[in-house]
Each structure stands twice: as C-alpha cells, then as structure tokens.
Symmetry: C2
Subunit: 304 residues, 2 copies
C-alpha cells in the first residue's frame, strides 16, 4: 500500500458528559480544564461538557438523547419554544466545534462515554478513516490496563446521529458512579491520543499494519411477555460480562425469572454491550458483531 | 441462655422498588405476584412495589427518598397539595402494612434493595431482634452463592426512617440494570426466609448460637475542593470493591484526579457501601463499621 498523507491535526475537541450520568468523561474533561491543558505544542484542545443540564441532575438526558441529535435534519431544524433542550444544545455544540463536515470544524473530536457492560475500552468509529484507525492502533499498543477494541458503525456520516470522530467507551461502570480504574483508562487514552497527534504533526511516519475491528450484524432484545411486553428474563450468568467472547449455537443467552435457560441459535458472532443500562429503553439486550481485519497504509503529515 | 418464645409469624410483606432504579426487588416481587405466591402454608405474603412512580421512570425517587419517609413525624403529617408523592405513598404503605409498631402491622417486612458497592448480601436491621437475627443465621448457613453479612443500625424504631424489619441489600449491580446472579441471590434469600418461617410456625426450635454483625461508627466523605465543593478524588483502586475488608492506617483510600493517593488514618475499621451511587448526593464515600458478635438464645414458637 502507498503511504497516505494528511494535513496536520491541530484542532481537537475532548467532550465528556454527553450522557449526564456517565461520570468518567465529565471528570476527565474537568481535570483537563483545571490543568488548563488547552494548548500543548502543535495541538489546540477544546474541552466541552456536552450536556451540562443532564450532568446537573445526573441523568442520561433531560428531554432527548443528545447523542442522537447530531443528524443533518436536527442540526438545521428551526428553534421554537417546544424544541427539546438537547436539540438546542446540539446546535450550540455544532456552532462551537463544527459546523459538522465543514472546513471550520475541529479536526478530531473524542467523545468520552461509559457503559455498564464489561466492554473494557472500545473505540467507536463512523467511517474507515486511516488517521483515527492509526490512533486506535497506537492506543492499543500502549495501553496496558485494559483490552482496547474498535467498533465500526456503518451509518453515513451526515446521518450519523452523533457528532464525534471517535467515541471512547469505557466500562464496566455503573451510571452515577466514578471508578478510579475506569477514569485512569479514559485519561490514558486521551493522553495517548494527544501524544500521537504531536508525533504525527511533527513529521513521524506511522507504519502500515493491520487492526481488528467489530461491525454490528444485529441486536437482540430480551424475551418479553406477549401481553404486557415486560421482560421475562435477563442475561444468563454465563453470558453476563463476556462481551466480545464468541457466542455459539447452544450457548446460554437468557435466564428467565422462573429459572429456564434460553439458548442462542444462529451463526457464531461476538456479543457487545451486554446488559447495558441505557439499552433497556431501546429494547436491546446486546448487539451481535462480526470481527473484521482492516489493513492500514502507512501515514504521515502532508508537507507544504 | 434461656429459650425465647414468640407468637407465630404469619403475616409477611415482601417489598421491592422502594428505590425505583434498583431492579432486583421489583422483579423478585413481580415474579412472586406472577406465581401468586401470596399464601404458602402457615404464612400469608403481601407483595408490594413500594414506589411505582419511581419504578416507572427508573429513578431512585421522584420527589423525596421514600426510604427516608417512614418517621413518626412524616407518617402523621397532614397531606396537602404540596406534600411530596413519596410522603403520600409512605402513608399509603403504612396503612396497608402497618400502622408501624401497631398490633395490626405485618409480623415481618423484608425490603429488597440493591447497591452498586461490592456488598454481596447484607441484611440491615434496626434492632437486636432475636427472630430476625435467627433468620439471618439461617440464610447465612444456607446461601452458597454469596457472602451474607448483617448490619445493625442504631436509630430507635419509631424514628427509623424506613418501614422494614429487615432490608436485604444485594450487590454489586448498577442502577437500572438487572443481573441474573444478583436476582438469584435475592430470590434465594426470600425463599430461605419463607422456609424458615414455616419451620418456626410449625414448632421447630432454632438452637442458640452466635452471629457476627457490623455497626456503623462513622461515614467518610470524598475529598473536595474547598471553593467549589466538587469532589477532587475518587475511591482508590485498592479500596474499591473491598467492602468489609479491614481498613488500617496507611492503606490507600482515595486517588485524586491528578494521581495522588490519600491514605487512611484512624483505628482499624471495616469499610461498607464503598462508592455506592446513591451516596454521592449524601456526601458519603463509604461507611466505617466495627464488627460485633451477638449471642442468640434458642427460639421457638409460643405454645397456646
């Protein structure tokens, strides 16, 4: 593969508190603000608490999930008295860090999230972008405290419902709780990202190589009572906390409240976000993904 | 010690959803309702979802912590338009299961709770009651899936802010999440309790013996910024998840966001409810308790 070159990545945004009950991101951002880490060498950093009203009340959102408000349609919708707070806030953030997909937008946006699932560190991408995938490879090689994996979402960028170039998910952590191990993981990933950008901007070449990533094939809902629509089972103890471990036909999947095991049927796939709190309202018990390998070209900064 | 006798324990209430985001209790109660487990031999069981409005929105409470509404003052306060929902609901529950401390009250009330802390199963008592302590001993001898411990609160019963004779706390579980292992632990404890009551009511003698229990000595808050009052550290990784393990002077206690360790100073004590989600708003990082040994007399049912 040929070497690919990119313009310097000089404007970066680090966001936390996009979901107001995911504590890691907001405390990483506040600590960066306290340390006034807004300019480090070749990189200018903007730190943002994305949803301060939700942070204030320690809830995922106040009226609408902010992380679903960055579609083209919502970003350009006129503001009226009945516009939900999060749609207004999405437009504010888009004015501050974007506009999305424009020349004025920040070069890289990292949005820090938590999950109650045992996901370790998972970077979520919305496109096969060599630059962010190289950052992923760098974080993966340098992080020792947790497994680092990547999840590639397939929606087109303009329709992607969130703003970020990369979402950094860390878990397991209960909502409304701040664990030191999870805080340190996220902080380390941010530090490695900024370190990578300095190296890149100052002329380092990052060699070609392969990375693994997951792509979601489908989502699985909990078993439900056909009359009440209430869940009748939860994740089986043998599946719980085994995110990324291959799920094969016959493996226990759910355990009903009266004690019956529901087994998995279907092709071998990797379960992700098992028993994620925020997915109950979305009727998702877990995602099922397949693993792909992506070959990256070597990359370096574009010379003038 | 002499044998102690008690009247039959024939009316029992099992409550869940006292905190609307603690999922175990509400699903144990719903499953008991589905199985119509309201009368099993010598025991009549009333099952209650304590705070249905909070359950509906999956929050701890809507206006006021229901578990702090069962004081004599609040139970007898007149209802006005501005009375919080939970105070009304406490009075409703008191009419249904009480009145508290009266002859008409249920003989035993078990209230099912969750904690985000690594507490295993912890039974919380408000008085040294031989009967409930014998149930604790029985559960402890028969549970294999988790350590079972007891916490003795010292407030007088009339001023105790909650209604229950015994609160069963199980964890760790994130709020808004339902884990099968934790569900099974709570269900097993309820089953053992009912089993014990049948044996007791039908004339079994429970032998004298000793049980261990914890009593809270003091609570410890997070380190805070003196100006903003925001927390500046979280639980140290070496303390996190080590509930009940003796904390000794010099042991790491907090890790600040900039990486400094704060060590414990003081007498040897046992930390409880470490990093419990609901305690952030109460400014409690964990409780510190001492261990006591209680000698129980043998007990049996009072013969007519």
């Amino acid at each position: 593969m040929e070497n690919a070159t990119f313009s310097p990545v000089s404007r970066v945004a680090i966001c936390g508190g996009t979901h107001g009950n995911e504590m890691t991101g907001m405390y990483v951002v506040r600590e960066m603000q306290r340390q006034e880490a807004d300019q480090t060498g070749s990189v200018s950093i903007t730190t943002v608490i994305s949803n301060p009203r939700a942070v204030e009340v320690c809830r995922r959102y106040t009226e609408r999930d902010l992380n679903r408000c960055f579609t083209k349609a919502l970003l350009s919708s006129p503001i009226t008295d009945s516009t939900p707070y999060e749609v207004r806030r999405a437009q504010e953030i888009n004015a501050l860090l974007g506009p999305k997909e424009s020349q004025e937008a920040v070069d890289l946006l990292c949005d820090l999230h938590n999950t109650t699932a045992n996901m370790g560190m998972c970077l979520i991408f919305y496109s096969l972008d060599w630059l962010t995938l190289h950052i992923y490879k760098y974080i993966q090689s340098n992080m020792t405290s947790a497994p680092v994996r990547a999840l590639l979402m397939s929606s087109p960028k303009s329709e992607a419902y969130s703003l970020e170039s990369v979402a950094i998910e860390v878990g397991p952590q209960p909502n409304g709780v701040l664990r030191a191990d999870i805080f340190n993981m996220a902080k380390e990933a941010v530090d490695h990202t900024i370190e990578w950008l300095h190296k890149f901007n100052s002329g380092s070449t990052f060699e070609e190589g392969e990375v693994e990533a997951y792509t979601v094939v489908k989502s699985v809902d909990y078993p439900r009572d056909p009359t009440t629509n209430e869940i009748t089972a939860t994740i089986h103890p043998e599946l719980q906390d085994n995110d990324f471990k291959l799920l094969q036909p016959g493996d226990p999947m759910f355990l009903s409240f009266s004690g019956e095991t529901v087994k998995y049927e279907g092709e071998d796939l990797h379960p992700l976000f098992i028993n994620e709190c925020a997915y109950y309202e979305k009727k998702i018990a877990f995602h099922l993904a397949k693993k792909i390998t992506v070959t990256l070209p070597s990359i370096s900064v574009k010379k003038d």
